[in-house]
Every structure is written in C-alpha cells, then in structure tokens.
C-alpha cells in the first residue's frame, strides 16, 4: 500500500502506531478479533469468492479488487474439495497474521530508481508505504497435508518414481490433479481474503492513530500477488503458445507491460512485484518484464532467503537485545514473542540488495523503488 503521508509526518508516532497495529491485527497463537466470527457457511463463501467476500463485508473497497491478482478470486474453487479439518483451521485463523516470516511493515521510499514507473505507481521519495505478508494460514497447510496423502496414492497409481515422498504428485489432467487445483484455489482465495481484512485493519489503525480520514491518508493498494502457488497460464514455448501449469515456489509472478492479466492502469509499466527483505534492511518494489516471460515463465524471486537456520539465528542472537538493536536503527518491532523476532534477525537472511540486483541485472524484473522499514509487527 502507498499513502499520502511522508516519513516526517509519522516518525513521532511510530511507537504508538506499531502498538495499535499489534492490538488491531491478531498475530499470536489463538488470537482473533472479538468482533469477527465466521460460521461454516460463511467460510464456504470465503473459499469461493475470495477478496470479493471481504469487500462485500465492508473490508476495503471494490477499487482494491482491481489491484489484486485475479481480482482476489481464483476461479474453479470448490469448497467440497476442502476437508472439515482444513475448514476448522481456517475458521480459527481467518483475519490473523500468523508468525514465522509473516509481518506487517510500515516503511518509506528511500530511493527511486525509475522515476517514470514510480510516478505511474504514485510513489515518491520519503512517502510512507505498508507491506502485508501473510497467506492461507492453517487452512492452506491442512489442504497440503490432505492432498499429500492423495498424491502419495496417485504417484503409485500413475507409477511416478519419487526421490522423496514429499514430492508426490499426479498428472494435472487426472481426477486427483483436478481436485487438488480446486482445493488449492480455495486456499488461495482464503489468503486473498485474509490479506484484504488485514489491509482494512491497517487503514483503520492509521485513521485511529493519526486522526485523519481515508481521503487524507490515501492508503491505496498498489498490488497484491501470491507466491507459492500453481497457475494455469499461456506461455510461448519454442515459438508456440501453450497452456501450462506454472508452479511458483519461492518465486512470484512478474508479468510484463501489455499483458492481459495485469490491471489496466499498469498496462504501460508492467505488473508491480514486491520483494520484502528482512526487517532490518529494506524491501523493494519492482515491475515485471518481457525478459521474465521469455526466460522464467513470467516469474522472479519473492524474498531474500535465509542463510542461517532458525537455531543458528537463535544462537547468534543470544544475549543480544534484538528489538533494541533495531530501534537504534530507527525500526520499531513488536512480535507476539521474543522467539519469533529472534529467528528473523537480519543476519539470518541474505542481503536483499544483492538478491534484487541479481534479478534486476538478469532482466527478469526491474527496480522501481527501495523501501526502508520504520515499524514491523510479527506474530
């Protein structure tokens, strides 16, 4: 999200803002909004309609949908393909951030690399921005668990040899393959909804803390895109257009200008790509390129990637006041527990600047602006 605020307007209130975000956006184990309850029927509608459900319920506006991949709803989602257990886990967790590497980050534009594209995205130096990173939560994990069992049997049935049981699979056109894609679409729609609800609570929190209305705050969604998902897309292979199932894991979509699947107002610049770094360094906004279509099926990296295991990170952080270290750099961090902050210390990640320069120079996405964090909440 971008805003109509500049860094200096919010600096003084960062502590209050981070505390308020942490209160308003459920993050830790078992936490949920008291004003939000979901029954089973309603949850089925979430899985079918995705972010459109959220907008109908008053979370954000129809304008947001135009800036979400697939308008926040992947077609073909069939809630009957999702187990009761997955539904249970989903009901408990819709509208929650979750921990691990999930976060909400308030930052500002520190550097502009491409003036023209930045202007088209209405991004300018020192402007306040917000990144929301979360997904399908326990529902998605349960769908995965359930279908791993299906796929293990399917792999035997279709005589697919596996180097590791976790890699079990089935042909896309098989009944098992089709059913999985219908279930996966439900998980993706859950994730779109989850992010839409959190986006709405971010806006409410800004209104509360800065006592300004939506027109002054201008918290507009730049783009919402998935990673870790399989999509049916048309790509050119050896000069021929073919319908393919593109599985992006550790990758995100980076479609070029003039692609029919990106919003009309981004047709001339390409799809916005968001690459978050660790909470102590920075994050980037990039745009997709024609080169990505030619070389990586319209994909680029989705984050910095870890260099330290969580245990190494905990060891490296021993005796250190991580929150204080970050505060000294001007970044206020609040997590549900020290553990989840310590695991995510900046040293545990590759330097996102290096990673982004690689994809930029490889031409599979192009740098637009660099964002520097000011406040982060984590589960």
């Amino acid at each position: 999200m971008r805003s109509g605020l500049s860094r200096t307007e919010i600096q003084e209130k960062m502590r209050e803002l981070v505390e308020a975000l942490f209160t308003n956006i459920p993050s830790g184990v078992g936490s949920h909004r008291k004003d939000h309850k979901l029954n089973r029927e309603e949850e089925r509608r979430v899985l079918k309609k995705g972010a459109q459900w959220a907008v109908e319920k008053g979370f954000g506006s129809a304008e947001d949908l135009g800036h979400i991949e697939e308008q926040g709803c992947i077609e073909g989602a069939d809630p009957d393909r999702v187990s009761e257990k997955a539904m249970d886990r989903g009901r408990a967790q819709l509208g929650t951030l979750g921990s691990g590497n999930h976060f909400v980050e308030v930052g500002y534009v520190e550097e502009v690399f491409d003036e023209g594209v930045a202007r088209a995205l209405d991004l300018w130096k020192d402007q306040v921005t917000i990144i929301v990173h979360t997904g399908s939560r326990g529902l998605g994990h349960q769908v995965c668990d359930d279908y791993i069992r299906v796929m293990m049997n399917a792999a035997r049935k279709y005589q697919i040899e596996l180097p590791d049981p976790q890699l079990c699979c089935a042909p896309i056109s098989s009944p098992e393959g089709k059913e999985y894609l219908e279930a996966m679409a439900c998980a993706a729609n859950f994730a779109f909804t989850n992010r839409q609800m959190i986006t709405h609570w971010v806006r409410e929190t800004f209104e509360q803390v800065f006592r300004k209305g939506p027109k002054d705050l201008k918290l507009d969604l730049i783009y919402d895109v998935c990673h870790n998902i399989a999509k049916i897309e048309i790509h050119s292979v050896n000069g021929k257009n073919r319908k393919l199932c593109i599985h992006r894991k550790g990758a995100t979509r980076a479609f070029p200008p003039n692609h029919s699947d990106i919003p009309s107002d981004y047709q001339s610049i390409g799809q916005p790509v968001l690459i978050p770094g660790d909470m102590g360094r920075c994050s980037y906004v990039l745009v997709g390129t024609e080169r990505a279509m030619e070389e990586t099926f319209g994909s680029t990296c989705h984050g910095a990637g870890r260099v330290m295991s969580r245990h190494q990170a905990i060891k490296a952080a021993k005796g250190r006041a991580v929150a204080r270290e970050l505060e000294n750099k001007g970044i206020i961090v609040k997590g549900a527990s020290r553990g989840t902050i310590v695991e995510e210390i900046p040293d545990a990640y590759k330097d996102v600047n290096d990673v982004v320069n690689v994809v930029h120079h490889a031409g599979i996405s192009r740098k637009v602006v660099k964002l520097v964090p000011m406040g982060v909440i984590k589960g």
């Binding site: 184990v29 967790q93 326990g138 976790q166 549900a336 527990s337 553990g339």
Partner: protein, 143 residues
C-alpha cells in the same frame, strides 16, 4: 524405563526449516517422545500444565505415515483450540493405527511462550524404524 542421560530427541538444523531426530526403546515410547519433542519446539513445556486431555485415534498404513499423521493431529488441536500438550500416552500402536491420550492446556498470553510456529509436518526425508535395537525417527517440519 528411560536410561539415565539418554537423549530422547535432538533438534536437526536445516536452513529454511527445522527437524527432529527422536529415539525410543519401542514404537510406543518413540511416538510419545516425538509428541513431546514436537511441543518442545513450539513452547517451553515447563510452563505447561496437564489440565485437559484429548483422545487421538489415527488409522495407519505405514509407520512413516502414522508418525506424520500423529504429529499433524497434534498440530491440528494446537491450531484450532490453541492447545499445548506435554503428556503423551500411547495406549495402542500397531499396523492398524494408533490410539493415544494426550494432556496439556490452552495457550495463555503471559503464561506460555511460543518459541516456533510450525506450519506443517512433512514427509521430506522421513525415516521411522529400528536401528541397533533402538527405535529412531527423523521428521522435518515446515516453518
């Protein structure tokens, strides 16, 4: 009986994820120790009391699947009811599956800590079996 100074589990280091190697003198203790080791990753078990219990019943086809399903079932209760378990009693275990009673309590802010949020139990590099007269399991978790 647990022999003195004998480790029941070790944590495996993995860049993106985390793993456990669990030991037991028979399959029953192996599964009980795996449950305990799993919640040791999630929380500080010293702060958890056995206030409530759940019965767990799993049909199994192989020990690998049984282990993944057992820990996934515990994770399900953790996710949906915010339960933290510390006592694991496997009543029966065999080719047909597993029945267990597990005890613990609901997560309480300020009382309990969450060390790691586990997203899923995976089949990646799964190993469950007997080695040199001792039962051993290796499980990798998605974080």
């Amino acid at each position: 009986m647990k022999r003195k100074n004998e480790k029941t589990f070790e944590v495996l280091d993995h860049t993106a994820d985390i793993g456990l190697v669990v030991y037991g003198e028979d399959s029953k203790t192996l599964f009980e120790n795996a449950g305990r080791a799993f919640f040791h990753l999630i929380t500080d078990l010293r702060k958890v009391k056995s206030r409530t219990e759940r019965q767990i019943q799993i049909k199994g086809e192989s020990l690998d699947r049984l282990m993944v399903d057992w820990l996934s079932e515990l994770l399900y209760f953790h996710d949906v009811e915010s339960l933290l378990f510390k006592r694991f009693n496997v009543i029966s275990i065999g080719e047909k599956g597993l029945i267990a009673i597990v005890k613990g309590e609901r997560f309480q802010e300020g009382v309990h800590v969450i060390k790691t949020e586990v997203k899923a139990v995976t089949y990646h590099q799964i190993e469950v079996g007997q080695k040199n007269g001792r039962w051993r399991a290796q499980i990798i978790f998605d974080l």
